[in-house]
């Protein structure tokens, strides 16, 4: 066939081939997908914390299509295992790596120091580096909304809290709930039971039962499974879901839920890496930046209350409302925050004391 080609045809063919080839090379360069790594502390099937992050990951995949390639490793134990996994991702040129547990902080830092060209994002921590950011969500803003609703709807005045471990994030949540509840019902109390694990459905259910048997009629939790809410549904009381919408487990009981929304943040950071504008930061986003939201209100929330709750959210967003505004008293009754003063982020992030009305 080549013999039959005349020169013109040959030149045309060559030119055409060259054009296609060069376009191929250009698109190959452009189509080199950015690798994004996710390190999870639990299984994606936990329907809680890790599930939320994985939903964010899927949002990234949906948004960027074949411009990115995501990888995830689940159930990575904190400690040396984590360092190995993070390093492995780094060695495989993952341009952006998200490590989604506080306990990964030191390990992320170590690996970040050794791979200065890659970018790292660490959740719920406080250490950063030139190529390592910290990101966190203002869960307490959601707790304030829940506390307000709880304070209005509780008949016994006792609000139950199934809590995992006494770290500042959990303490903040308990306090925010109590403060908001007591604003509308001054004699409300928050009863806390610690289960010392983020995940053990049967134990969480038992803790919920212990609370309900002692008079609690609104159930909140800072653990991962839907078990406490399920118990609430079965016992005829009301409650709030955690990290994801748990309505399927408690169609009647769920008043609302605090939803972890990591997708937009992840997309934004990834876009910054692609654009070359990524900079290290330490952020703590809330309702305003849409890092969390409340699930649709359940039937038990009357219209007027819904509007009040929405007003709190709107106030949080426009800055007129802050969950930790004084006067705030501690468990001993001493005023620790003066009237009108808002607690600083710094004070919140270290919180290890409880407000009046909390029995923990």
């Amino acid at each position: 066939m080549l013999c039959n080609m005349n020169r013109r045809r040959f030149l045309q063919a060559t030119a055409a081939t060259g054009l296609v080839a060069s376009q191929g090379i250009v698109s190959a360069w452009a189509a080199e997908p950015l690798k994004v790594g996710f390190v999870y502390v639990g299984p994606i099937g936990d329907y809680g914390w890790t599930h939320g992050h994985d939903t964010g990951r899927k949002a990234v995949e949906a948004h960027f299509g074949n411009k990115v390639k995501t990888t995830y490793v689940e159930s990575v134990a904190e400690g040396p295992d984590a360092e190995r996994v993070i390093r492995q991702l780094a060695q495989q040129d993952h341009g952006l790596i998200f490590t989604t547990s506080f306990g990964y902080m030191e390990q992320t830092l170590r690996v970040a120091k050794q791979f200065p060209k890659l970018k790292f994002e660490h959740a719920t921590g406080y250490k950063t580096a030139a190529n390592m950011s910290a990101y966190n969500s203002r869960f307490y803003e959601g707790r304030a909304v829940a506390g307000h609703i709880a304070g209005k709807l509780t008949k016994t005045g006792k609000i139950g809290y199934v809590a995992s471990v006494p770290i500042p994030e959990v303490v903040m949540g308990i306090n925010a709930t109590a403060l908001a509840a007591r604003k509308v019902r001054p004699d409300a109390t928050v009863r806390v039971v610690w289960v010392h694990t983020w995940f053990d459905p049967a134990k969480e259910a038992d803790a919920a039962k212990a609370l309900i048997d002692q008079g609690v009629d609104i159930m909140t939790q800072h653990t991962d499974s839907p078990a406490p809410l399920q118990v609430a549904e079965g016992r005829g009381i009301l409650g709030f879901g955690q990290a994801s919408d748990m309505k399927a487990y408690a169609p009647r009981a769920q008043l609302s839920a605090i939803l972890d929304l990591w997708g937009d943040y992840y997309i934004g950071r990834l876009q910054a890496v692609l654009d070359g504008t990524w900079k290290s930061q330490s952020i703590w986003y809330g309702f305003k930046e849409k890092m969390l939201a409340m699930a649709p209100y359940g039937e038990a929330v009357p219209e007027a209350l819904r509007q009040e709750a929405d007003a709190i959210i709107a106030g949080t967003i426009n800055g007129s409302y802050h969950a930790f505004t004084g006067p705030i008293k501690n468990q001993q009754g001493e005023v620790v925050v003066q009237d009108g003063v808002r607690m600083s982020d710094d004070a919140l992030l270290k919180m290890n004391w409880y407000v009046e009305g909390v029995s923990a």
Partner: protein
């Protein structure tokens, strides 16, 4: 402690204790039969999870709870069969095989259950006897449980009388105490052990199903959270006797729940980790007391526990 324990509160607390004790009781009863025949199966956690996911999936698909329970028992027994072939026919080391079974079972159940996460299921129905179930305090406790709770207690009676009073139980115990002698008399030791191990697997499966169908009707990966190991400990705690195991399950469950209730009452200000240690320390203390008092009887494990058996010529 200062807080009043009304009958109502006591009844509710005991209800919660029942919920905590039942999965442990099922698994421990199954394991004690296996161990009395001379086989140590450490794969309880894996078998419980297999039962939990199978029971859940079956009820999701068919809507029939009885079918779900059967599926759970079958799944537990199926894993136990793998164990039995390895340890009884191929005479592999029982401790290692049991641990491998746990790893395998955890992984298998997670894979099998991946599609069922986040989907609730109808819980096992509870008994509702008109009049009796509504008695204050103890009404729900005695007459308002689901079928697995009653089954677990029935099985305690059954296993206890089987082991100590029946001829087959005697044969089983002989295989566990002196396999060579049992073989010499003419009993088929391996066959007996097979049945015992399969029974253990089925019971563990039911224990797991209790978690996924009654205690917290859902499926989440790894939802047994270490209860299989507690069940293994309970067998030794109960010195390989069914009634003591039952007492142990309720005691262990009781102390675990008690510390949750005390926390909820908010009166005691002890670091909660110390409170959480109580069930474990109580177990050790009780064992020590049992072993050193004038009431000590033989608390030893079956003599042939863990030893592979090969029929001599």
């Amino acid at each position: 402690m200062g807080w009043h324990m009304s009958l109502e509160l006591l009844g509710s607390m005991l209800l919660t204790v029942v919920g905590a004790a039942t999965p442990l009781l099922f698994a421990a009863l199954g394991e004690v039969v296996a161990e009395r025949s001379g086989v140590l199966n450490l794969g309880v956690e894996g078998m419980m999870l297999a039962g939990a996911v199978s029971g859940f999936a079956t009820v999701m698909v068919s809507g029939n709870h009885l079918l779900g329970l059967l599926a759970a028992a079958a799944a537990g027994a199926a894993l136990a069969l793998v164990f039995a072939v390895l340890t009884l026919t191929l005479m592999a080391n029982q401790v290692a095989t049991g641990l491998a079974l746990t790893i395998f079972g955890v992984g298998l159940s997670a894979l099998a259950g991946a599609g069922f996460v986040g989907v609730p299921v109808a819980a096992l129905p509870k008994l509702a006897l008109p009049g009796l179930s509504d008695l204050p305090g103890l009404g729900r406790l005695i007459f308002g449980q689901d079928m697995l709770v009653y089954l677990s207690l029935a099985m305690t009676v059954a296993v206890a009388s089987f082991l100590s009073r029946s001829r087959s139980g005697l044969i089983l115990r002989a295989c566990g105490e002196s396999d060579v002698a049992a073989h010499a008399i003419g009993y088929h030791v391996i066959r007996v052990r097979y049945v015992a191990v399969l029974f253990g697997g089925a019971m563990s499966g039911l224990g797991g199903a209790y978690l996924s169908l009654a205690a917290t009707p859902m499926w989440i990966e790894n939802m047994t959270a270490g209860r299989g190991w507690i069940a293994l400990a309970l067998v030794a705690f109960g010195s390989w006797r069914a009634w003591r195991i039952c007492a142990g399950a309720y005691l262990f469950g009781g102390v675990t729940i008690l510390q949750l209730y005390v926390q909820g009452a908010g009166r005691l200000h002890v670091p909660s980790q110390i409170m959480s240690m109580l069930p474990y320390l109580a177990t050790i203390a009780l064992l020590t007391v049992m072993a050193s008092g004038p009431w000590r009887s033989r608390f030893d494990a079956p003599a042939c526990l863990g030893k592979p058996f090969s029929p001599p010529a």
